[in-house]
């Protein structure tokens, strides 16, 4: 951990002791893997001290405790990830015996409508990986496989049959650099960009109702 470097969350220091390979009680161990989907190119995932980094073509997502940011090095900025990708809602550290609360927290923080309602998580298989049927409020069910040693989802299958899996799982310490937001990066608020665009002809307000 480099002192003074900004981590996920403005000004917050998230990773106090990144680099330990051992699994601490109640915590996911550190590892990296590839997220592989039926129709998507593989992308890298890193987990360290309950924080998650997911790489994307134009930057990377950082999540912890449900909150998620999207960092764009090319633009030297970061934003709240919100619903930019569902990956930040699904691939979060969980309690293998009671994962619903972590998924719900991620969905609520992403601003998914209705996600603060009642979630249903039903265990349908215990070993070697726990398998759950997860039903968020107002949404169709999906099945999730959790590796109890990683304390992390390793496969998500949607109701339409499409799936995402973690492959090439490599336990080990992760570089703290992966989880940082470099100094000088600025937070972007899309609302400000919208207000700017409203000054142009690009934005068309709907007709006022009379």
């Amino acid at each position: 951990m480099q002192q003074g470097r900004r981590l996920l969350g403005v000004g917050a220091l998230w990773l106090g002791a990144v680099g330990l390979l051992v699994a601490r009680p109640g915590l996911a161990i550190d590892f990296s893997a590839d997220i592989v989907g039926d129709h998507t190119a593989p992308t890298a995932l890193h987990v360290a001290d309950q924080a998650v980094r997911i790489d994307a073509p134009t930057g990377y997502f950082l999540t912890k405790d449900g909150a998620a940011l999207f960092v764009r090095p090319g633009k030297q900025m970061f934003t709240d990830a919100r619903k930019s990708t569902p990956l930040t809602q699904w691939f979060v550290p969980v309690d293998p015996d009671s994962p619903c609360a972590q998924w719900q927290a991620a969905a609520v923080n992403a601003g998914v409508a209705g996600s603060d309602g009642a979630w249903h998580c039903e265990r349908i298989e215990s070993a070697p990986r726990s398998r759950w049927r997860v039903t968020p409020p107002g949404q169709s069910s999906r099945e999730c496989w959790i590796d109890p040693s990683l304390r992390f989802p390793v496969r998500i299958q949607m109701s339409d049959g499409t799936s995402l899996s973690l492959e090439n799982i490599r336990p080990g310490a992760q570089s703290p650099e992966l989880f940082t937001i470099p100094a000088g990066f600025r937070r972007l608020d899309p609302q400000s960009l919208i207000e700017h665009i409203k000054r142009s002809d690009v934005w068309v307000e709907p007709a006022a109702s009379h």
Binding site: Q76, S200, W203, V204
Partner: protein
């Protein structure tokens, strides 16, 4: 979005493997398929780059033609201003008037009702309106260094190296909606045009916008055959520009500061090209060909002019299957003055049935069109309510069709034939390249998933999607109303058509590099770079143009057979001194610049042949041997026969050039664009 890219990449690789499997080693196919299509001229590709809201006198008002024996008509040649931008000996030719209250909407104000503004500060003065006051991390102008590394990671070329610096400059440092004291003598400006140049203002500064809508623009032009002269047989005086801006939204009996429109006198601002303002455009004019008689096709704004560029016609409210129906009442315009006001429009809405003279505002324009000394027709079909002002297309950028266009304030799917349809019929390649399009598709997908696309206007729904998905926030800067094909059922309602022809700026540059440029390409920057006053700057559009030209410069073979048309959608409300040839109910409007860049248009020529945006359609149709789009589209008009004694007034009005006169196809000259 990434999922689709991944799939298409795989599919592309598979199809490439299949395509090359049976090919002999020496059979390397030229990817430039447009090269093989027979054309009337040596031009095999056209690229039409469209900026936002700049007029001819506003941009080239102080410009001296560089070509041998070439002349240009502008406020400098007329003596309205001097080369340094100060008032010239004929400054009064540009004086502006106010008008006493009238009972109904008018476009030719009665002479006895008009009063010229006084000389010092009497004319409405320039106003910052909504121009950005300071730098912002979330919207242009950005703080220094903000986008400096953008090109390394971000695939969008819209934030390329040319734009990095100028996206950080130009804040007004003044309050919004205040007197623009950056303009020298602001507050005491005389009655006429003023130069946007001084210690605190240049072409690198954001300036206040002004309203640019249909009924306002006709009224500003002040057209009446009672004003006609030999040089100006249509009698458009262009002398009510600040007045209309200062009054159309102002109810005199209510608090003016709240009710008023803050455009004020911004219409009269211009740049001095002879003093290095808009210098990229000037360099291109010096080296290539410029038209000083090119016009916006439609009085008013962005959507209708782009629609005309794509169709040669106006859009109308329909049942989505081509049958005209009456739009909701809140869409129908009534520009008549409200009771107790000087000129405040009763209902400043977007649609009129101009075949019905009893509709508010219609009789004034149709009466004028029918009084012209040549055979001009309103061209208003019965029961058709035409789109006069900006209305989003009935399709989202991803092709989702708005299910409730009336309540979503979106034009129902259009059946008006486009140039894209005509090119498709002949299997000639084409594409529309819109800045931010890929992000806009992603936002649209999310609006559909969220259900907001079912009920909300596309701007609103995509804005909400951007808040939820900031990684695609640039999608809100993609201009939907600038894409005439986004209105069309034939394109947007067909996923194969959409995929083939609806593209992003990144694709334009890639196609130029890979020799896969379509025969016909339309290029539109996003809302940050389009040059629109207030939200963009003229030098940002210059940077966009330069990026395309630099890419083309690196491909000499492609450049040699490509004509680049650089133009604007409309003058944006900026005053212009040029002649206007009204053609029908919808326009023409004021002059806008047109630059034509090719090996056959070099030497600084200035064309005077009368033309408008439909002339670009006529060029395409002539070059690729296409027929006019429909029996009512403007591309049916003949080429103008120009007069020796009045070089800007066709003898055979109404007429539109096909721009062939700007080319010398017998002489190809290698001319660098900007190096």
């Amino acid at each position: 979005m990434r999922k689709k890219l991944g799939l298409s990449a795989v599919a592309c690789a598979v199809s490439l493997m299949a395509a090359t499997a049976g090919m002999a080693k020496d059979e390397v196919k030229d990817p430039d398929v447009a090269d093989a299509i027979k054309t009337e001229s040596p031009i095999k590709h056209v690229i039409i780059l469209i900026g936002e809201n700049r007029g001819t006198d506003h941009t080239f008002g102080v410009y001296r033609a560089k070509g041998k024996h070439q002349t240009i008509t502008n406020i400098l040649s007329k003596g309205i201003v001097n080369a340094d931008g100060t008032p010239g000996p004929n400054f009064k030719l540009a004086q502006q008037f106010s008008v006493k209250p009238q009972p109904l909407y008018y476009i030719g104000a009665p002479r006895n009702a008009k009063t010229a503004y006084g000389d010092r500060g009497q004319m409405p003065q320039p106003n910052t309106n909504g121009a950005p006051s300071a730098q912002s991390v979330s919207g242009a102008p950005f703080p220094p260094g903000f986008p400096e590394a953008a090109n390394q990671v971000d695939p969008s070329p819209d934030f390329g190296p040319n734009t990095n610096t100028i996206l950080t400059t130009g804040a007004t440092n003044l309050p919004a909606k205040s007197l623009d004291t950056r303009v020298p003598d602001a507050g005491m400006l005389p009655n006429g045009p003023f130069v946007l140049q001084g210690l605190n203002i240049s072409d690198d500064d954001y300036t206040g916008d002004m309203t640019h809508r249909f009924y306002q623009a006709w009224q500003q032009s002040d057209c009446s055959v009672a004003n006609a002269t030999k040089a100006n047989p249509t009698g458009c005086l262009n002398d009510l520009f600040p007045f209309v801006m200062a009054t159309f939204a102002l109810n005199d009996s209510v608090t003016p500061a709240v009710q008023g429109n803050f455009s004020q006198g911004n219409e009269m601002g211009f740049y001095d090209a002879e003093q290095e303002q808009a210098s990229t455009l000037k360099t291109l004019a010096d080296r290539f060909a410029l038209s000083d008689n090119f016009h916006q096709s439609f009085q008013g704004g962005t959507g209708a002019n782009h629609f005309m560029l794509g169709t040669g016609d106006a859009g109308f409210w329909s049942d989505g299957k081509g049958n005209p129906v009456t739009p909701p009442a809140n869409q129908i315009a009534n520009p008549n003055p409200a009771k107790g006001s000087t000129n405040k429009y009763v209902a400043d809405n977007n649609f009129s049935n101009c075949s019905d003279f009893s509709q508010p505002g219609v009789a004034a324009i149709v009466g004028y069109i029918e009084s012209l000394p040549y055979r001009a027709e309103p061209n208003c079909a019965e029961r058709h309510y035409y789109m006069l002002d900006n209305t989003n297309p009935g399709f989202f950028p991803n092709g989702f069709q708005a299910p409730n266009p009336a309540t979503q304030s979106m034009l129902p799917a259009s059946s008006v034939r486009t140039i894209g349809d005509a090119l498709n019929d002949r299997k000639i390649s084409w594409a529309y390249f819109g800045g931010g399009y890929n992000d806009a598709v992603a936002l649209s997908d999310e609006a559909v998933a969220a259900g907001t696309a079912m009920t909300q206007n596309s701007s609103t729904a995509m804005g909400a999607a951007a808040l939820a998905d900031p990684s695609h926030e640039l999608g809100v800067a993609y201009c939907q109303i600038c894409n005439p094909f986004q209105y069309a059922s034939s394109i947007m309602g067909d996923s194969a058509q959409r995929k083939a022809h609806m593209k992003d700026t990144v694709d334009l540059l890639a196609d130029i590099k890979s020799n896969t440029l379509p025969a016909v390409s339309f290029g539109k920057p996003d809302g940050l770079l389009d040059g629109h006053p207030q939200s963009s700057k003229i030098d940002l559009f210059e940077a966009y143009v330069q990026q395309v030209l630099d890419t083309l410069e690196a491909n000499p073979k492609l450049k040699a057979e490509t004509a680049v048309f650089v133009t604007w959608d409309e003058a944006g409300g900026y005053w212009d001194s040029g002649f206007i040839q009204p053609i029908d109910f919808f326009g023409d409007g004021p002059r806008i610049p047109l630059l034509v860049l090719s090996a056959y248009t070099t030497g600084g020529k200035v064309s005077h042949d009368y033309a408008d945006q439909v002339s670009i359609l006529k060029f395409i149709e002539r070059n690729w041997k296409l027929r006019p789009l429909t029996d009512r589209s403007r591309d049916n008009l003949p080429n103008p026969k120009m007069r020796d004694d009045q070089p800007y007034v066709p003898k055979n009005m109404p007429a539109l050039s096909d721009l062939w006169d700007m080319f010398d196809f017998d002489h190809a000259v290698k001319q660098p664009y900007l190096e």
